[in-house]
């Protein structure tokens, strides 16, 4: 077992455990911390793959900005539990567990059948290459995401705005 493999397993376990804890934990502050751990481990996985730029962006945007945003959101809102209907029954929970487990099993089987060729040349996701693709081939997607964010921003303001009267 190579060193890369060992680190992969460690980070993968942290990422998955963090993600599960986000759902399983009860207090929202604990959830935010486990989210930060999960994001951090994903960044480490990017580094292992040689995608350094994406790794740094992941740390800056997700671990830095988004986690902090959640902390602010937590501070500025009051937390009440609310639901739209009765809690799911036991058999409903069991049924969804079986469904999700089957899906996971099928996915794992599918991935295990993959026999991908190992890439011969070492790959480094450089900033230059990403920039050229982003402002060249994917320019329309880049512009489109600007409109996506505008529309999301307007929507967020409309829905969250408190009347000043």
């Amino acid at each position: 077992m190579t060193g890369q493999m060992i680190f992969f397993i460690i980070f993968a376990l942290i990422a998955i455990t963090g993600a599960v804890l986000i759902i399983a934990l009860k207090r929202i502050s604990h959830r935010v911390v486990s989210m930060a751990f999960s994001f951090m481990a994903v960044a480490a996985l990017y580094f292992l793959l040689g995608a350094e730029f994406i790794g740094i962006i992941q740390i800056m945007v997700y671990v830095g900005a988004i986690t902090i945003l959640f902390v602010f959101g937590m501070m500025m809102t009051d937390h009440r539990n609310f639901s739209f209907g009765p809690d799911p029954r036991k058999w409903q929970q069991a049924l969804s567990f079986v469904g999700v487990a089957t899906l996971l099993g099928l996915m794992l089987y599918g991935i295990s059948t993959l026999d991908m060729h190992e890439s011969t040349q070492p790959f480094v996701g450089s900033v230059e290459a990403i920039g050229l693709e982003l402002y060249g081939h994917y320019f329309i997607a880049f512009l489109g995401s600007a409109f996506l964010l505008t529309s999301a921003l307007i929507g967020a303001i409309v829905i969250a705005r408190k009347e000043a009267d």
């Binding site: 089987y109 599918g110 060249g136 081939h137 489109g144 409109f147 996506l148 999301a152 409309v158």
Partner: protein, 486 residues
């Protein structure tokens, strides 16, 4: 290292619509936060019509920008459907927002988000690259989530928006996960390259390719609300403001069909035989479940949700039975018919439910005595939705039916006929309320404002004319080489 060379003039309609949407937004915040802004509504309709004219003028010659953004007859016709659909939804909205009950809605933002949604849908149907396609889809989806929650002090509207955003986000995740397998196998996000590689990949990695297909089908299926991914539709349609319900059931759904056709025919076209049967089964379940559940509904908006699910099932039939240009002919023709009959019906529904303040089926009681023109128009729309002769819906359904028979899927064609017959029951429930029941004691004559009159008249005219002379558009469609953009 070369500069990115592109023929940007192909994007003229999108660029103009984006500029006009920003202009509408700017004018809005210069004219105060609250208040009625009918001029912005008119300006939005004008922008959409200008863009529609530009689509006809500039998109008539095919071409592509780096095979990412493509212009072909398919993109052109779907863009026209989207633009006209959104313009009619805005005309319906103008009347809806005029009412005292809906004064809480920020009008300027409402219209500009509607325009952004149209822009997203246009990018979506015009892209042959998974990334651009997904960005367009997300512009449309996020705008729809917001629109569903625009009446933010109304509990049903907020509930609809939350349900929609959570489930819609999950559906988007499914689409992305499916796409990631395709990218991993081919190393490309271009649908053309994927389409070339898929027959060989299918030989080698059958399971993974099918998994990717099914993930994407689940995600797209959510967007067009086919069974078993339809659970959100009735709740969201019921809670959302009525014009937004019209938007979701027409524009959002038809744009979703646009990308389903694009991705499945262009990307997975090489292995059509392998997945056509899955689509056929889903179409059958959708038609059966949609029509049967609709029988039990008493709320107009929920009923229209299930009717929309059933209609999505009819639209899926040609995807499963006829490959190539003829199949697209059928889908596009039925899309045009669906656009007109559904929007016309929603115009009447908005007017009636807003007037009576309830969306129960009984709000239609005695509509014939209150507004004879509306009642007759509504009858035509319902008859067309049910698929009876002399309407566009009949021609569209007959065309799809013969396609299914020719494609040797007789069982599917039979299910289609049987479920259509079942649908008569709930559509005639409407008609019975309108003509055979007396209006409730305090209901007065219903005034029909100009914008509604326009929508109803246009949809009525198109529904009837296409029902009698389908050749008018079918002859044009037959000359198209739908997805040829090189």
């Amino acid at each position: 290292m070369t500069a990115f060379d592109a023929n940007w003039s192909l994007m003229t309609p999108e660029i103009v619509l984006a500029a006009l949407a920003l202009l509408v937004f700017t004018i809005d915040f210069m004219t105060g936060i609250h208040g009625k802004k009918p001029f912005i509504g008119r300006l939005s309709v004008l922008s959409l019509l200008v863009t529609a004219v530009l689509v006809v003028v500039t998109n008539s010659t095919s071409g592509s920008i780096a095979e990412v953004f493509v212009v072909d007859p398919f993109a052109m016709v779907f863009k026209l459907i989207i633009l006209i659909g959104v313009a009619m939804v805005i005309l319906i909205s103008m009347n809806f927002l005029d009412r005292e009950r809906n004064a809480e809605v920020y009008q300027g933002e409402y219209y500009s988000i509607m325009l952004f949604a149209a822009l997203g849908a246009m990018i979506m149907v015009s892209s042959a690259d998974l990334i651009t396609l997904f960005i367009g889809l997300e512009i449309l989806s996020i705008s729809s989530y917001v629109l569903a929650g625009f009446k933010k002090y109304s509990r049903p509207s907020t509930e609809a928006a939350i349900k929609y955003v959570v489930l819609g986000g999950t559906a988007s995740a499914f689409i992305l996960y499916g796409m990631s397998f395709l990218y991993g196998l081919t190393g490309s996000t271009s649908l053309l390259e994927i389409g070339q590689a898929i027959p060989m990949l299918f030989e080698e990695y059958t399971f993974v390719v099918m998994m990717s297909f099914l993930f994407m089908l689940a995600g797209f299926g959510f967007k067009i609300s086919i069974v078993p991914f339809h659970m959100w539709a009735p709740d969201v349609y019921e809670g959302a403001p009525t014009p937004v319900t019209a938007f979701l059931s027409v524009v959002s759904k038809l744009a979703g069909f646009g990308i389903i056709l694009r991705v499945f025919f262009l990307g997975f076209g090489g292995v059509y035989q392998e997945w056509a049967f899955i689509i056929a089964v889903i179409a059958a379940i959708t038609m059966i479940a949609g029509n049967f559940i609709a029988l039990t509904q008493t709320n107009v908006k929920r009923l229209m949700a299930y009717s929309g699910i059933a209609q999505a099932g009819y639209l899926l039939v040609p995807v499963a039975t006829v490959v190539g240009d003829v199949g697209i002919n059928m889908i596009v023709f039925y899309s045009v018919a669906y656009l007109m009959m559904t929007l016309g019906a929603f115009a009447v529904i908005t007017l009636v439910t807003e007037d009576t303040g309830t969306s129960d089926l009984s709000s239609f009681a005695g509509l014939y005595q209150r507004a004879p023109y509306l009642a007759i128009a509504m009858t035509v729309f319902l008859v067309s939705l049910a698929g009876l002769p002399l309407t566009a819906g009949f021609i569209g359904k007959a065309y799809i039916f013969f396609g299914a028979v020719a494609g040797e899927m007789l069982w599917l064609a039979i299910i289609m006929i049987v479920t259509s017959v079942i649908s008569f029951f709930y559509y005639f429930g409407f008609i019975k309320q309108m003509f055979m029941t007396d209006p409730r004691p305090n209901d007065k004559e219903l005034a029909v404002p100009g914008s509604m009159q326009t929508v109803v008249t246009v949809s009525l005219a198109v529904t009837v004319i296409l029902g009698i002379l389908p050749g008018l558009v079918l002859d044009i469609f037959n000359t198209f080489n739908w997805m040829a953009f090189f």
